[in-house]
């Protein structure tokens, strides 16, 4: 006999809104974060030194690529020129410790490449400027570089410790 000394609720019993949210596909939750959050922490490395900086970003519709822009005189530009392995961290933290369990965050890993002017530049610049119109002149400036991150994977964290991985290239 199966050990049934507990009520056998069918899955989905006592539903409430939070449950529906909790079981959404990881991709959908990543998409929501990417849509709702304008800024990400860009993580780069070089000269034995990790480095982080806040950047405004935009994702392509299929979430395989992200773009951001940086002046060329910055540390991040220099480190990006040396090493293309990057990470972006996007989160919705409300800055209230009580709400820890409601925070969602995603760590995006991938390879970055600077988009040269001409060619695909306008297409990727348009993606960023559509989302951040105030960056229009910034993107156009000769001393700014546009970078595209080719995403390898997303690691999505919810409820403090629940982690799921999504690899967009495995998505048909």
């Amino acid at each position: 006999m199966k050990n049934t000394d507990e009520p056998l609720f069918d899955e989905g019993d006592i539903k409430d809104g939070s449950g529906a949210t909790a079981h959404r596909a990881v991709r959908e939750r990543i998409q929501q974060l990417a849509d709702e959050q304008p800024y990400a922490v860009l993580c780069v490395q070089g000269e034995g030194q990790p480095y982080g900086a806040l950047v405004a970003f935009a994702f392509s519709e299929d979430l395989r690529h992200a773009v951001f822009v940086t002046p060329v005189a910055t540390r991040k530009y220099r480190l990006l020129s040396e090493c293309d392995h990057v990470a972006l961290v996007i989160d919705n933290r409300p800055n209230k410790p009580d709400e820890l369990m409601e925070i969602e965050a995603v760590t995006v890993t991938g390879r970055s490449q600077m988009i040269e002017r001409g060619g695909e530049f306008d297409q990727w610049a348009e993606l960023l400027v559509t989302r951040h119109p105030y960056l229009k002149s910034f993107v156009k400036a000769a001393t700014c570089a546009l970078f595209r991150v080719d995403v390898v994977r997303f690691l999505h964290v919810a409820r403090f410790q629940e982690v799921n991985q999504w690899i967009p290239s495995a998505h048909s």
């Binding site: 006999m1 199966k2 050990n3 049934t4 000394d5 507990e6 009520p7 609720f9 989905g12 019993d13 006592i14 539903k15 409430d16 939070s18 449950g19 909790a22 079981h23 596909a25 990881v26 991709r27 392995h85 410790p97 009580d98 709400e99 820890l100 369990m101 409601e102 890993t109 991938g110 390879r111 390898v152 994977r153 690691l155 964290v157 409820r159 403090f160 410790q161 629940e162 982690v163 799921n164 991985q165 999504w166 690899i167 967009p168 290239s169 495995a170 998505h171 048909s172």
Partner: protein, 756 residues
């Protein structure tokens, strides 16, 4: 004290009827007190006091962490109970601030220190006209002295987050950030009559009838269902008695009604005055008679609508009170379990081959009926009695206030569980193999040769021929099989399937086999824990405490044994069905390979009773298998699964999912045992496991307790664990944090290396 946000309001202070400040119960009592009704004197600790306490003690964050760990949709009642227990422990671990202690002291100034008090919940909206949530929150009676009042106040606050309240969290609008609870502290009134009264009959609100019920003694006897009340129906207009139904009480001194007509008249007049005051028909609790009539509580009558969610209602019945638990203990331990054991033994001794077809059909019908009856008893008596362990948990924690809310589990060690006796027998056989390499090699070789289709007589003969010591080993194995494995698991008799157990024995012979539940296991001794509890409750409550411990122990032993004993009965039904199927196959009436189970009782009985040669067919009953979750969206894989930290420690190993009988024999030492729930039939695998991951959550379930005793990391309550995790996958089980990490922390993909 901040006059805008008072922490304390005397019950008779005029105008303080704001339910948001004093809660529903106190608001109505305050209105009654000011309206000239007799109510027990006392004071209310307001919702501001609750708020001050939880904010200062950081409890809001703790509640959020507890309830946010996983979606509450995925939490079973046992997990919700666990969450409520931990929240309760959090409340108990925090002393009242100086301000709150001074506030309580100020409230108590009007009472003698020996005055027994009632400390009652007064939640916002609990007694609204729409719905009554009576019983979801706690109240304490007979509380004496400041410290006891402070303890009771914290427990009443904690009951805002009781398991029952969490089940109704949506209806209650429970929200850690905003929910608050007021507490009423009142003098206890002792009278020889108490009861409830309804201004209108709750079964038929339209009728001009009022209803009065009375018991001898305190009202709690009626509300808790301990004493059957006298019941009257009265005409609201003429006040005449329409009906009187005497209560069924064993100790009734005489058959006279508990109340005289003038006393009933007085209660009815009070009831109608309360109705006039509030403008709604009340349901009133009262005590005392005639001029000494005191109103304990008044709330709008709620129609006796059945809860639309029967499962939740059923959950609430899983918290029987002490009196009911004591009745259950007597019935279960002294009557039912011995009867169940005897029934299994009697059926196992029956020689079925001596029966003719009619007799065999009769015994199948009897066995099926007996099994159905015991399954009913399992749900009605055994499962509610399992609450005895939870009752012990709360009793121990309230008294000892231990930092670890599961410290009491140590009191349950060393119980002579059937599963423990079985595991000891298994351990002895494994030791025989460990001590005799020739015998072990022979068993291994023969198992390799048969590869899944072991024929027991052939295996026996072969082993006897090739290995010294085989006779002793086989005698022990037979004894194990007869005594402990004549049970059904996964719809088949384990008795007939020696191969998985032989394979387990080989593995166990290579592992140091720990005896389950050994007193020597690290931790505080049973005697020391018992002393801790007895010291905490004091000599006055010593007998009560010993009784709660004993009920907890019997309850714990039962929740393991009952499964095995019912499974043994089930096995006897299957044995009779096997004999029937064999006979019908022998005469060519039954074809096909379908293995009979309890779904085939009817066709097999009919065939045995028919004097024809009609062929019989058995429909294949598909085994319930976990749904395939491998069709997760492409590219999505879990990296960290979250559950409950059920046993501390950390271990990495390959996953081995146990879905059914066929998987038992595949288990290898050091693997991570992943299953829906560790059942008493498979606890012998636990000492082999590197770690345990279960879908079913709870700190008091079999897997968690055994893992803790053996020091094996265990995370349970992991949603769909046995479906998400695949055999062979490397996982790290962190039993400290309740995390299962899937795979290694690699960056191969980022380097352009294909790794999935």
């Amino acid at each position: 004290m901040d006059s805008e946000r008072p922490l304390l309001i005397p019950l008779d202070a005029p105008g303080h009827w704001d339910e948001q400040i004093v809660g529903g119960k106190a608001a109505k009592l305050a209105q009654l007190a000011c309206g000239g009704f007799d109510v027990p004197r006392g004071f209310c600790l307001t919702t501001w006091a609750y708020q001050t306490f939880v904010q200062d003690a950081g409890i809001t964050a703790a509640i959020r962490m507890e309830l946010g760990r996983k979606s509450m949709d995925d939490m079973r009642w046992e997990e919700i109970w666990d969450a409520a227990l931990r929240i309760r422990a959090t409340f108990l671990a925090q002393p009242l601030t100086r301000l709150l202690r001074e506030t309580v002291a100020a409230g108590l100034r009007g009472f003698d220190t020996s005055t027994p008090l009632a400390v009652r919940s007064s939640a916002i909206g609990e007694d609204s006209a729409g719905r009554s949530f009576a019983g979801l929150h706690e109240s304490f009676i007979g509380v004496r002295g400041r410290q006891a009042v402070e303890d009771a106040v914290r427990l009443v606050w904690a009951s805002l987050w009781s398991d029952a309240a969490l089940l109704y969290r949506k209806e209650l609008g429970l929200d850690p950030a905003h929910s608050r609870m007021a507490v009423l502290v009142q003098e206890m009134i002792y009278a020889d009559r108490s009861g409830v009264a309804f201004a209108r009959d709750p079964r038929d609100i339209g009728k001009e009838h009022a209803v009065i019920e009375s018991v001898p003694g305190p009202c709690s006897l009626l509300v808790d269902g301990v004493v059957d009340p006298d019941h009257w129906e009265l005409d609201r207009k003429t006040h005449g008695i329409i009906a009187w139904l005497p209560g069924q009480r064993d100790d009734a001194e005489d058959d006279a009604p508990l109340l005289e007509s003038r006393e009933l008249e007085h209660i009815l007049e009070t009831l109608l005055s309360v109705e006039q005051l509030f403008g709604w028909s009340p349901d009133m609790e009262w005590t005392g008679r005639s001029d000494a009539l005191t109103v304990l509580q008044a709330r709008p009558i709620t129609a006796a609508a059945l809860d639309e969610d029967e499962k939740r209602t059923w959950c609430l019945t899983l918290r029987p009170g002490d009196a009911r638990l004591k009745q259950l203990r007597k019935r279960v331990a002294e009557q039912l379990i011995p009867e169940l054991e005897a029934a299994g033994q009697a059926l196992a001794a029956e020689e079925l081959n001596l029966l003719d077809d009619q007799q065999l059909a009769d015994t199948i019908v009897q066995r099926s009926a007996a099994l159905a009856n015991w399954k009913k008893i399992y749900w009605e008596d055994f499962i509610p009695f399992a609450h005895g362990v939870r009752r012990l948990a709360m009793y121990y924690n309230d008294a000892v206030q231990a930092e670890d809310p599961y410290q009491f589990v140590g009191l349950l060690r060393n119980q002579p569980l059937v599963a423990k006796q079985r595991n000891n027998a298994i351990g002895q056989l494994a030791q025989q193999l460990a001590a005799n390499d020739v015998l072990r090699s022979a068993v291994e070789r023969l198992l390799a040769q048969c590869a899944g289709s072991l024929h027991w007589p052939t295996f026996r003969d072969s082993l006897m021929r090739i290995a010294d010591g085989a006779e002793n080993f086989l005698r022990g194995f037979d004894a194990l099989n007869e005594r402990f494995l004549d049970i059904v698991y996964d719809q088949e008799r384990l008795h007939d399937q020696p191969e998985p157990m032989l394979r387990n024995l080989i593995e166990l012979s290579r592992a140091p086999y720990a005896s389950l539940g050994d007193e020597s296991v690290a931790g505080v001794s049973v005697a020391a824990l018992e002393k801790r509890l007895l010291d905490a409750v004091g000599p006055e409550r010593r007998d009560e405490a010993l009784d709660v411990i004993e009920t907890g122990r019997v309850s714990w032993k039962l929740r393991d044994d009952d499964n095995l004993l019912v499974a043994r009965l089930e096995s006897q039904l299957l044995r009779a069905l096997d004999v029937a199927a064999k006979r019908l196959r022998a005469v060519g009436r039954l074809s096909g390979e379908v293995h009979p189970n309890d779904a085939h009782v009817e066709p097999l009985v009919r065939a045995l009773r028919e004097p024809t040669t009609c062929p019989v067919t058995l429909e294949l009953v598909a085994k319930v298998r976990p749904k395939d979750l491998s069709k997760a969206p492409p590219g999505e894989t879990p990296r960290q699964l979250i559950g409950q930290p059920a046993s501390p420690g950390v271990a990495t190993g390959a996953v081995r999912c146990i879905h059914g009988r066929g998987d038992l024999g595949k288990f290898r030492q050091g693997e991570v045992l992943v299953c829906d729930a560790i059942q008493p039939t498979m606890t012998h695998l636990v000492p082999l496991a590197g770690a345990i991951v279960e879908r079913r959550g709870g700190m008091l379930i079999h897997g968690a307790i055994i893992a803790r005793e053996l020091g094996i990391p265990c995370v349970n309550g992991v949603r769909n664990a046995a479906e998400i995790l695949k055999n062979g996958t490397l996982v790290t089980v962190d039993g400290h944090l309740g995390i299962v990490t899937v795979g290694a922390a690699e960056f191969d993909l980022e380097l352009g290396v294909e790794c999935i």
